[in-house]
């Protein structure tokens, strides 16, 4: 299901969970952890952002999470705080204690990557967030695209369930989840993107087809593991009414699933796409009405 050019993104042996990992502890590249988040699912959640994505959306708000670092070294030279260095093996090493969060490295990188990645085991990740557990309903795996790490997530979520917390995934839906039995056993809910309403629009916007996201939405809804679907409304780029019509038809009959309609915003978007218009409130309202008319009861516009 991965696109050609995306293969380099997902080729790092440390986290594919492939055969070469047997005997080794699984690790996943973590870009960032937000301790308390009000916008990543039910209640208060710790959001964990994994590096690497199998889509390449025009308006991606975090393009630096799309690719894995190729260790070209360019950002090592521009970092003003000496937080980055090249190891003898020619790999970028990140020292979180020196980093001043200036984002210079992100601006330097022409590869849509970030050097500020920690490759963590599921145990390390749990220990990292342990202090947050009393205050949260659970965790949300996000990205990039977290379903690229499904083996890792299975392990991580098993630990989360032992702590009596809930496990959510925020996914673009490109990787079929329905046959991942072990993951589903420890996963509470998914939040799935529906970025376009036609195959053509979806390919134009994301570089990937529409089939898997739709099938994932259907199947997760059917087994009660769908929390919400999300559509970012981008004027002129795709036919937003068709997206919403499709989304509404998928969830109208499923109780409790919410439709989140998100205004496209400029923050973080790559400069070549900064010209994309932000939708007006009137457009958002029309789409809300459209979803409501098709029978969706729980709609959030944000």
């Amino acid at each position: 299901m991965r696109k050609e050019s995306g293969d380099s993104v997902v080729s790092c042996s440390a986290w594919t969970g492939g055969k070469e990992d047997i005997g080794k502890e699984m690790r996943a590249p973590v870009n960032k952890i937000i301790p308390f988040s009000a916008v990543d699912g039910y209640g208060n959640r710790t959001a964990v952002f994994f590096q690497g994505c199998n889509q390449n959306c025009l308006y991606c708000h975090n393009p630096e999470t799309i690719q894995e670092c190729i260790h070209c070294g360019a950002c090592v030279t521009t970092c003003p705080a000496g937080a980055l260095s090249l190891s003898d093996a020619g790999r970028v090493v990140y020292d979180i204690s020196k980093c001043c969060n200036c984002d210079t490295c992100l601006k330097t990188c022409t590869n849509n990557a970030s050097p500020r990645i920690r490759h963590m085991t599921s145990k390390e990740l749990l220990e990292e967030i342990r202090a947050y557990l009393p205050f949260i309903d659970g965790v949300t795996a996000s990205g990039g695209e977290c379903s690229l790490r499904s083996d890792f997530l299975t392990e991580f979520f098993e630990r989360i369930k032992k702590e009596k917390k809930t496990a959510y995934m925020d996914t673009n839906g490109q990787i079929p989840l329905w046959d991942k039995k072990e993951l589903l056993a420890v996963l509470d809910k998914t939040m799935i993107d529906l970025k376009a309403g036609t195959e053509e629009d979806h390919r134009k916007l994301t570089g990937m087809g529409l089939e898997n996201p739709v099938e994932n939405i259907r199947r997760m809804a059917a087994i009660g593991k769908l929390y919400e679907i999300r559509t970012v409304v981008v004027p002129d780029v795709v036919d937003n009414a068709r997206t919403v019509a499709l989304g509404a038809s998928l969830i109208a009959d499923v109780p409790d699933v919410r439709y989140k309609l998100i205004k496209f915003r400029h923050y973080g978007v790559r400069s070549e796409y900064a010209g994309i218009k932000e939708p007006s409130d009137a457009v958002m309202e029309e789409l809300r009405e459209l979803a409501a008319a098709k029978g969706v009861k729980n709609i959030v516009v944000t």
């Binding site: 009000a38 309903d137 996000s142």
Partner: protein, 499 residues
């Protein structure tokens, strides 16, 4: 206050910025401060002079308590001989009686800092809900326009009542600062009611939430009044004397000396001052005997109901100064050694207070939030604005430093508006914080367009760009009132979306 009384009087008379009632009060303050009759000890005088202690502008000749917390429930049950009021028979009479009493409370400022646990008081009178709403609106509007002081505080019980629902609804709708409001939170309170309270909190910046289990343990039947002060119902906070902990390092040789010598010395100074002021209020002024509240049993003159409030501010500055901490990773709220030491200081202070016999009633430890004149001084044991760590660590630190604050403490957290779609978010934080031993939390919704709408990260560079744009927009409209300017209140870290 200058030395020249004529000048002071003229200033008050001509001040164009105050109402007539305020002018009257300011005149009274001048008269009160023209004589000094409280008999302070040498130790107290020393600490007033070195700046490590202050009397909170309560006045030099206190003839009333700072806070007075009448038993309104008893008042509604028995009416009042003095005020010539029968026990109310319907909600209008109840509201009317309460208003009469509000205007007859002998406390500093002449206005009540507590107007009762309103839902508990009024629920027995709710028959028709529309009628009740009318009466409660009448009460709230009256309180807002005549008491008009954000120190005036109403409480709500953890029970889901019709009166409570109406109060929350009106609070959300009216968006007025007075009265301030606290819900006594319990883990077993009805979820739906908690959600309604949080929903109101996100729009109106109130109610706040008190840990009912903890305060009930410490104070029995309690009320949250004024700025997060906690006092027993039917009691008085006689006076509040404040220790300015940021001034303690200059009296100490090193951290050990501060802990073992200066803290006990300072506790003596503050407790002495509390005793001296209480003595004047009780023995010289016969405060209790001179008010019908005491004669009718609405306030009690016994050990459990007379609280001498021991306030403190600037724990953070104290620790950073005496340990000479510059590195952001080592300062109070961040460094393990600093926090451990701070905790020891607080424990020591509590021990010293407990050791000391109290001349009247008992001492209560209160984390004070500051006065307008403070600058570079952090409330109670909070972490300075601009230095806050991630929210979970800020809450944990707040809990650690305020364990013994039986007479109240508070912490404020601004939240991005996006949390409004998700009141459960706040419910989770409340539940977590209170289960870990937090005493009190307030939330308020911060306005910002930079929203982490969903599923993506916010980069610092974006926030900075956004701030630059906002600054040019806001420059003219920022409310530069004294308190917010001096205390950097506007710099407070916005929660919910932060990195």
């Amino acid at each position: 206050m200058t030395k020249d009384m004529t000048k002071d009087i003229l200033q008050v008379i001509r001040n164009p910025k105050v109402t007539f009632n305020q002018r009257l009060k300011d005149m009274a303050k001048i008269a009160e401060n023209s004589v000094e009759l409280v008999r302070y000890t040498e130790k107290s005088r020393e600490y007033f002079e070195n700046g490590a202690m202050m009397d909170m502008f309560e006045g030099k000749t206190p003839y009333r308590t700072r806070y007075c917390v009448p038993d309104f429930e008893l008042f509604l049950k028995q009416g009042s001989k003095f005020l010539m009021l029968e026990p109310p028979k319907d909600i209008w009479e109840a509201v009317g009686n309460l208003l009469c009493l509000y205007h007859n409370i002998p406390a500093d400022g002449g206005l009540p800092v507590y107007i009762g646990c309103l839902d508990r008081l009024l629920e027995p009178f709710v028959r028709d809900e529309a009628e009740a709403e009318k009466a409660i609106r009448f009460l709230l509007v009256h309180v807002d326009r005549t008491i008009s002081n954000a120190f005036c505080h109403a409480d709500l019980s953890p029970e889901d009542t019709r009166a409570g629902r109406i109060i929350l609804k009106l609070t959300k709708e009216m968006q007025r600062p007075c009265p301030n409001m606290t819900v006594m939170y319990r883990e077993d309170m009805p979820r739906d009611y908690l959600m309604a309270a949080l929903d109101t909190a996100m729009t109106a910046a109130k109610p706040s939430f008190a840990n009912d289990v903890l305060y009930r343990r410490d104070m029995g039947d309690y009320a949250v009044v004024s700025c997060y002060n906690v006092l027993p119902i039917g009691g008085c906070g006689l006076t509040l004397v404040r220790l300015n902990m940021n001034q303690l390092p200059k009296l100490a040789k090193d951290p050990e000396d501060l802990l073992n010598r200066v803290i006990p010395d300072a506790v003596t100074a503050v407790c002495d001052a509390i005793d001296s002021r209480c003595e004047f209020i009780i023995e010289d002024c016969h405060y209790y005997e001179n008010t019908f509240l005491y004669q009718e049993g609405l306030i009690k003159k016994d050990k459990e109901h007379m609280i001498g409030m021991f306030g403190f501010v600037g724990l953070a500055e104290c620790v950073n100064k005496i340990m000479k901490l510059q590195d952001p990773g080592e300062r109070f709220g961040h460094g393990a050694a600093a926090d451990l030491y701070a905790e020891k200081v607080m424990k020591k202070m509590k021990e010293e207070i407990e050791k000391r016999p109290c001349k009247y009633g008992k001492y209560g430890l209160h984390a004070q939030v500051g006065v307008m004149e403070d600058s570079s001084l952090t409330p109670g044991g909070r972490i300075p604005i601009g230095e806050e760590p991630e929210l979970p660590y800020q809450i944990t630190n707040f809990i650690r430093m305020h364990r013994d604050c039986d007479a109240g403490c508070g912490e404020l957290f601004p939240f991005e508006k996006t949390a409004q779609h998700n009141p459960q978010y706040l419910a989770d934080i409340l539940k977590g914080a209170f289960s870990q031993g937090a005493r009190y939390l307030s939330f308020y919704g911060a306005d910002s367009d930079l929203v982490r709408v969903t599923g993506y990260l916010v980069k610092k560079s974006d926030i900075e760009r956004f701030d630059r744009e906002q600054m040019t927009l806001n420059e003219a409209t920022v409310n530069g009132s004294g308190a917010s300017k001096n205390l950097h209140l506007l710099d407070r870290k916005v929660r919910g979306e932060e990195e």
